[in-house]
């Protein structure tokens, strides 16, 4: 079985963690693979995991009847997927579907929440990392909401 400590230690998302913390996180981690079309999680389900995508592509989708599932974002190699495990009510707001063969490191949220309660230094470092991810996603979502390409005024390119 592949040791996950070195992989986690090299990942930029966990760069603030000490080797001891990395070992703790690795204790809550396992490798998983998803075939194209398979769901990592579905909207409304309990959220007790997050994922580091090692390889592949995952579509984050939301059901929007009558349009069906709308992809609002894709997550690719090296990126982090999921933060609903971190805050109550621990329920996925979106669904995540593999668009191609996808390998991930899955981290058990319940296990990590427990470790963070026991070790606040670990909790603080993880929260800093997630705050960064949430901030990036918020920036991207705001830019997406602006729909900037639809509102380009007349000018040099037109």
């Amino acid at each position: 079985m592949e040791a996950l400590d070195p992989l986690l230690a090299e990942h930029p998302f966990l760069k603030g963690l000490t080797p001891a913390h990395i070992r703790t996180v690795a204790g809550c981690a396992r490798n998983e693979r998803f075939e194209a079309g398979q769901f990592l999680f579905r909207e409304g389900e309990e959220a007790h995991q997050f994922f580091i995508v090692r390889h592949g592509k995952v579509a984050v989708e939301v059901g929007a009847p009558p349009r069906g599932a709308v992809t609002i974002q894709t997550v690719a190699d090296g990126e982090i997927l999921g933060w609903s495990w971190l805050v109550p009510p621990y329920r996925w707001r979106f669904s995540a579907q593999a668009k191609e063969l996808t390998r991930v490191i899955a981290l058990d949220g319940r296990c990590l929440r427990q470790k963070c309660e026991e070790d606040h230094d670990l909790g603080y470092e993880l929260l800093k990392s997630f705050a960064d991810i949430v901030g990036q996603r918020l920036d991207a979502t705001r830019l997406q909401l602006l729909d900037v390409y639809a509102t380009e005024p007349a000018g040099r390119h037109r």
Binding site: K57, T71, A140, L143, D147, Y149, A154, G155, R156, H157
Partner: protein, 289 residues
């Protein structure tokens, strides 16, 4: 040897064409790119060449309707023909879109500053385009790819509104296949048939390999998209001093006389449209301008 007392003979300068006088061109070919964009290939009436720097623009005059500033989107290595990709938004561009092979068009230019393709030699190059902002960047890509050995990694990050709005689709595909250029495309809104990336173009920046300390970035798109891009490049370690932007204002004369395109102390038509980011960053976030 001439004496210092002798007055130097004035050098006969070639007569410069009047920048306010449109030169007639003829439409050689038209190409529909997306539902609302098209490309015109123009030849000078009576032949000749039209040298330009990547990033420069022309004033295109549709007779009887009016004149608009349009960036040049062709290959600078082929100055015999002039290529412009345009989006239909008003009366002039609508008239331009209705032109057929053989129709005439007035051209003034080329105007303004170009992309720093020479300054970028020896560096990685990250080109970030949003929407029709890919059109003014295409000449820079042609130039860089023509001298590919002079550059490190060359990355094109392109964001469009939807899959149907992707410009130069075949060329992007070809570039990606050539292995010379790392091409990443994303769309803000996807249809179910789309299998590529979804998300704004800034989300591609953390994904691609380049050396942020030896990178020159060239960015063109809506101004909000460019501001977010600069911030994301900065987060990645690319200093603003190594980022160039192409600004857009209401250009009219093209030579810095009329003031229509003035943005603070800058005339976009003459001092730009391509600026080092550090020269215009403060202006971009000022609401009054």
């Amino acid at each position: 040897m001439s004496s210092v007392l002798e007055a130097p003979r004035p050098v006969e300068a070639a007569p410069r064409p009047d920048p306010m006088l449109p030169v007639p061109f003829v439409v050689e070919r038209t190409q529909r790119e997306t539902a609302d964009t098209f490309t015109l290939e123009l030849l000078p009436q009576g032949g000749g060449r039209f040298p330009f720097d990547p990033g420069q623009f022309n004033m295109l005059y549709v007779f009887g309707i009016g004149e608009v500033p349009i960036s040049i989107s062709g290959d600078p290595a082929f100055p015999q023909r002039l290529i412009h990709t345009t989006r239909v938004v008003g009366a002039v561009t609508k008239g331009m879109g209705a032109l057929k092979r053989g129709d005439a068009l007035g051209v003034r230019g080329p105007f303004g500053t170009g992309w720093p393709v020479e300054e970028a030699e020896g560096c990685d190059v990250v080109v970030v385009a949003g929407g029709i902002g890919l059109a003014p960047l295409r000449p820079a890509l042609y130039e860089i790819l023509a001298h590919r050995e002079r550059y490190g990694r060359v990355v094109l990050l392109y964001g469009a509104r939807t899959p149907d709005d992707i410009l130069y689709r075949k060329q992007l595909h070809d570039w990606r296949g050539d292995f010379d250029l790392d091409v990443h495309v994303t769309v803000d809104r996807a249809t179910s048939a789309w299998r590529g990336n979804v998300g704004v173009v800034t989300t591609l920046i953390p994904r691609v390999p380049f050396d942020p300390y030896h990178t020159v970035a060239m960015v063109c798109g809506p101004e909000t998209m460019m501001r977010f891009t600069v911030l994301e490049l900065e987060r990645r370690g690319v200093p603003a001093a190594k980022v160039w932007l192409s600004l857009e204002r209401n250009m009219k004369c093209g030579v810095g006389l009329c003031g229509h395109c003035q943005c603070g102390p800058k005339f976009i038509c003459k001092d730009g449209p391509v600026f080092p980011c550090v020269d215009v960053w403060d202006l971009m976030s000022r609401r009054e301008l």
